[in-house]
Symmetry: C2
């Protein structure tokens, strides 16, 4: 067994841990080392994984009226219910429950409050034109959730089973999904360590829960290009760190630099890394840069490679895949490569910078007007009266078309 | 006002934010920028700070029996009460309350669960030989708490006022402090963000609470030297990051490497940094290295400098201060400097390594027997039948003497 333990730990450390849907042996191994360092003595292989068939539903007795669509604020209002699954090192995953949305009651010594044993996902459910409800690439979220949880010694979970019960939850609260284009139900799977002791070690218990918030379009009146501040005095992520995982730990330290940038009129930070000032991510999104290559003159769509400092965005992956499929044949070179901020500035000066946009679940794409860098403004290719470039616009339409089921595509999963 | 906001933010970023006890203007400024980016509209300077005179006490109706001293486990059992203070961006710090130890009831959207808005302190209360109760350098903990909280956009607090009400809390639950040498009451001040929305931004509300756990000596049967594994594949902290703050975010990512080391029989990681393999910290302690300098032959006590990647340990500072005061005159050179792991290995090989020990609140000092480095064991100066070196032993006695009031010293504060 020891080699399996070591394998799982090393995989988590190198970002290779996979959810069960891809590799059940790894998950079993992950569970095994969890147990090896927890209080339990039972055989790891016999620990129950999440069993969707055991789902119980307790409906609220005080149903709410859904908010007016126009009053929606991201992540402020929630549906009537929540999904909740407990895990213990002795018994594995307990039976999942849908219960009325309610407060968590936790001992003040619970490890989530002290050592940031917490990770999450962001995903959305959409209503299509025939009233069907769809998720977008949920397997990607499950895969990432398991990578995140394994990295901080929280349990992994059967992604297919979790997707299934998330579907049940969404169907139960489907009246909260506004049926207009651009609207959706934002889903927040969250896993927290619940062991109530102050010793620093792997949690012997955890809680996985999912809450849901109806959200409107990120740009209700059409795109509005943003301004970024290139940030070098604070560092979001580093090699050997955890910047590629969706851990709570990656977020709180970014707020102060964000406030700094906001105080100077910038919507987000653009995180640079190292002496080379490599472009990494922007605020809570991945970044894409479209330019004409200096040497070849070829059009190139660039985003930072997954070197351990970059969040493995589902929208990032979708943009890359669609670009390779649909822009590649039109002569675009799609690159996952490091690019220095000075190269971006040079492309701008030389008229080679075509457009820049962020990519994330919230806005799909978020066009960038300019970037403040070393006291100068780097213009990012938009005309004065333009709020989005051609590629960003096209990506939004392609991805949204799939998300809302207008285009048949296996990425869109009817629940 | 804008310059003040900027000052406070910059100070937090550069690790210069100071608690009110040291610099009231900074705190006012910190509160100001908090408010500037929160929902409030009232004038920042009028926001109430913590007011110890408003403390209310609600005693438990079901008092517990203190555990048998021999059964104590670090951070597992708690006293009858807890201290609790709420903060809101609109009203500042509310009246502090001592209430029966109880669960926290929090909305599942609360930002502490998602973005790691959490920081903490570790400090101890000691019973002296006359039955008096003492804290050890509480101002240092208050100072660090404020640096930590400001760095993640949580409110700062009047450290003197907080120390005063912590004193009241400890006195109320003083029957839980075992009155034997080596025993104490471990105190865990904790601050969490409590805003219940999923937007990533500065929390508009927070909760500061303190819980207390009776603890026994770290080494009940005398010192036991530990073995470390020098770790280079995972990185704890980075320049421009937050490794010098006591944030929850710094802890969960360290568990997996700790399990890796444990699986090979090592008690802790020794975190190396960069290509130079600089020695930084060990597990959850600072590290001290005593050696004979290669060039001068002088005895040197070395610890890593506070370059932003090193936790500003209270015990670290105490060891340095006492060493300068008491070892300096005996010919020791006390150095805060970077040292490569290869230099430590070389000193060991050449018989110049005198001793190595960790320093932290839990154990005061923790002697190191050896360090696994690049497949070799670096012996750290202890003879086979020795469990602690002379300096570690002396430090423990000096610090413990002050903590328990045997030696009169302003570091020890009677409450």
């Amino acid at each position: 067994m020891k080699s399996l333990h070591q394998l799982a730990r090393r995989q988590a450390l190198t970002g290779l841990a996979m959810p069960r849907v891809l590799c059940s042996q790894n998950i079993a191994a992950s569970r095994t080392w969890q147990r090896a360092f927890s209080a339990s003595t039972a055989a790891a292989s016999q620990l129950p994984d999440l069993d969707a068939s055991k789902l119980t539903i307790t409906k609220t007795t005080t149903p709410k009226e859904p908010m007016d669509s126009k009053d929606l604020v991201f992540g402020k209002y929630f549906t009537d219910h929540m999904l909740s699954v407990e895990w213990t090192a002795t018994d594995g995953w307990h039976a999942p429950r849908i219960v009325p949305y309610q407060n968590l009651s936790l001992d003040p010594a619970t490890c989530v409050f002290h050592y940031a044993f917490e990770c999450f996902e962001g995903m959305k459910a959409y209503k299509d034109s025939t009233g069907g409800i769809r998720l977008f690439r949920p397997n990607k979220n499950m895969e990432r959730l398991n990578k995140s949880s394994a990295r901080i010694a929280l349990p992994t979970v059967d992604g297919d089973a979790l997707t299934k019960i998330i579907g049940e939850f969404v169907k139960l609260d489907s009246r909260f999904i506004p049926d207009a284009r651009g609207y959706s139900l934002y889903l927040r799977p969250t896993m927290i360590g619940t062991q109530k002791t102050l010793g620093v070690g792997p949690p012997g218990s955890a809680l996985l829960y999912v809450i849901a918030s109806p959200v409107g379009p990120y740009y209700p009146t059409g795109f509005k290009a943003i301004s970024l501040e290139a940030t070098d005095y604070a560092v979001r992520a580093w090699p050997g760190g955890v910047g590629d995982k969706k851990l709570g730990a990656n977020y709180a330290p970014c707020i102060l630099p964000q406030l700094e940038a906001a105080s100077r009129g910038f919507q987000q930070n653009l995180w640079l890394f190292g002496e080379e000032e490599y472009v990494t991510e922007v605020g809570t999104m991945n970044l894409f840069i479209a330019l004409k290559n200096k040497e070849t003159g070829q059009k190139e769509l660039i985003t930072a490679p997954l070197d351990g400092t970059i969040l493995e965005g589902v929208t990032r992956d979708s943009v890359l895949t669609l670009a390779r499929e649909r822009l590649g044949p039109k002569g675009w070179n799609i690159s996952e490569r490091k690019i220095r901020m000075s190269e971006v500035a040079e492309a701008s000066e030389e008229g080679r910078l075509i457009e820049v946009f962020g990519a994330g679940t919230a806005a799909i794409v978020s066009p960038v007007r300019n970037i403040s860098y070393r006291g100068k403004m780097v213009e990012c290719g938009l005309k004065e009266d333009e709020e989005a470039g051609e590629i960003a616009l096209q990506m939004k339409n392609w991805i949204e078309g799939i998300q809302y089921g207008d285009e048949k595509n296996p990425w869109s999963v009817v629940i």
